[in-house]
Amino acid sequence: MANTVATGAALGILDLGLEAFRNVIRKAFKDKGEEVIKDNIACAEAGYHYARTNCPRCEAFGIREPEYRRLMLIDGVHAIGMGAVMSGCKFYSGYPMTPSTGILDYMASRAEEYNLVVEQAEDEIAAINMAIGASFAGVRAMTGSSGGGFALMVEGLSLAGMTETPIVIAEMQRPGPATGLPTRTEQADLLFVLYAAHGEFPRVIFEPGDPKQAFYLTNKAFELAEKYQIPVFIQSDQYLADTEWTYEKFDLENIIYNDYRLREKDLEGIEVYKRFKYSSTGISLLAIPGEAGKHLVVADSDEHDEEGHIIEDSETRIKMVQKRLLNKLPLIKKEIEPPLLYGDSSPKIVLIGRGSTYGVIKEVVDTISKDHKVAMMHFSQVYPLPERDKFDYIELLEKADLTICIENNATGQFAKVMKAETGFEFSHKILKYDGRPFTIENLKEELHAYI
């Protein structure tokens, strides 16, 4: 109760009124009964009145009681979890590892209400193989970990690529190498996730900038994973995972749900079902074993023929690589949205970021825009890089005097991806690798060297 008194006193110092706090108490102690609520409200009032009476000079702090609005309060891991539930995810397997554990916790807490199966695996190798097994058997499945745990999942990722099994993987970064700084933040796994796994197969990487983006991008991850039968990543970090944001609302009308899995009635007229039938899009029909009548579903980690059986010949190999990888890539690229441009529409200075640096870069743009033609270019759909037809972001960058890439790592991983994929090289980089997120003050200070 001491903290209730203290909160009451703080509100008294600020002259903010007690009504909102009374509601918070009623909600927080709802399950503990009327008496607990009554006592806590009395404590809050005692603290409040003590401050009002004994601190006459506190008048100076007085701020106008705000207009109360009903807002959502949500952090990154809950937004990812809710995005999964609203995308029809029915199976989540994981092994606890900070900062990804929150997703596992959330999914388990919703298992009963939404009929989910959530399994704590014996290790991350089992976690990804379970997600693959559940997806193969016909349900939307997801796994998640941090960099070290994802390292163990890498062979499984390749298995999803080869068997064209849709899965969504949350990779929640913390500073490495090895155990690193387990409870801190970094953006140093982009190249790892981009190049993880042997062999060549398509993948998509999203890096949300805030919980709202995390929610929608998780939904898009499930859509693309199942539409193209590929692994899709939601990559984020400890900072976004655990940071709570407020919102008016999430617009649920924008949720996408298309069930691409086929059952007996969907396969009418097909004489022999072939799980990996060649097609110009690279996409073959995705039937559910046991729910597809007498049709059999065969998948193999070996190179295989259209039916899914092991092969050795070079002709089939070439056709399968074309189907699985080359035919799909251009279609997947078209699904990727261009970066967000915020600020001046023909900027001289462009601050480039991805993922969780969204908020801080945006705010820095706000504070320096009266003196500079400046804009933020924020990538949340990071790989494959978007095409230039909707928004020629490369042209915009080429016209700017300064293009500064801001990343929470020591080597500028996104800058490398940009150069490798588009040939464009940012003029400068601001990098932070102390395990802490950027603050407005330190980002502005770093910028002073250039502007």
Partner: protein, 283 residues
């Protein structure tokens, strides 16, 4: 009713005389005699000579990674508990690379069947020691002989209260079929370790070597006695018992999950309308 013709798959690429041929034909017979149709069974295999088995029968197949049969098989069962799920692996696959998954599958007790083709050697990679290779066996990469003690999978499984533990021999197909049928029919995680001669790389544990040693557990043997089962599982050498060593009727993994009590997860319809109210929890 299914016939063995329904289960006819591709032509095997095993060495002539391999014990796997006997296991393959016995699996088909067991499934036919149990009346299970090819579209009602999912075989999950790993990598190794045993891992090729599902290509040579005809059924739903997931031929995944070396060592990882059990996580895939367990999750497939959770997603669709109306399927018969059989995991197939070799001794290296299940007891070596997949050892951790083996332990935890025993703990979880999903209602799936595990056939281990135990030839006491690595066949696919040409003759290295496996977890069950006899101590002091010389191989190309164990020039002083294998220094480690062989693993005893049955004793390990019984010590962990595995729901069903049995051993068969590829050279006695009639009895192997009975054991396979019992393993598939058993409710819970069923381990059937199958002694399988590798005619190319294991010149010690041949068909004759096993024939001279294997015998069936006595008719009056009681597989519900765990301590007795453990004791019998330690018998190895001049005499090697076959049969059902141990079984119990403990709760399966699926029975403990409320979400799949009424119908398999895979048949449950999803609509965004049913979950939209979730957002209210964040206000």
């Amino acid at each position: 009713m299914p016939t063995s013709e329904d289960y006819k798959g591709q032509v095997p690429a095993w060495c002539p005389g391999c014990g796997n041929f006997n296991i393959l034909s016995t699996v088909k017979e067991a499934l036919v005699e149990l009346g299970i149709e090819p579209w009602e069974v999912l075989v999950v295999s790993g990598i190794g000579q045993a891992g090729k088995l599902p290509h040579y029968i005809k059924c739903h197949t997931f031929n995944g990674l070396h060592g990882r049969t059990l996580p895939v098989a367990t999750a497939a069962k959770l997603a669709n508990n109306s399927l018969h799920v059989i995991a197939v692996a070799g001794d290296g696959d299940c007891y070596g690379e997949g050892g951790n998954h083996f332990l935890h599958a025993i703990r979880r007790n999903p209602n799936i069947t595990m056939f281990v083709h135990n030839n006491q050697i690595y066949g696919l990679t040409k003759g290295q020691a496996s977890p069950t290779t006899a101590q002091r066996t010389h191989t190309k990469i164990q020039p002083y002989g294998v220094l480690a003690e062989p693993m005893n999978p049955l004793a390990l499984a019984i010590s962990q209260d595995c729901s069903f533990v049995a051993r068969g021999f590829a050279g006695d197909q009639d009895y192997l079929k009975e054991l396979m049928k019992a393993a598939i029919a058993h409710k819970g995680f069923s381990l059937l370790d199958i002694l399988q001669p590798c005619v190319t790389f294991n010149k010690i544990n041949t068909f004759k070597w096993y024939r001279d040693r294997v015998y069936k557990l006595e008719g009056e043997y009681d597989p519900s006695d765990r301590l007795k089962a453990f004791e019998r599982s330690l018998e190895w050498g001049d005499k090697i018992p076959n049969g059902i060593f141990y079984k119990n009727e403990r709760e399966t993994l699926e029975e403990g999950i409320p979400a799949i009590q009424e119908e398999p997860l895979v048949r449950q319809k999803f609509s965004i309308e049913d979950v939209k109210h979730e957002i209210e929890k964040f206000y």
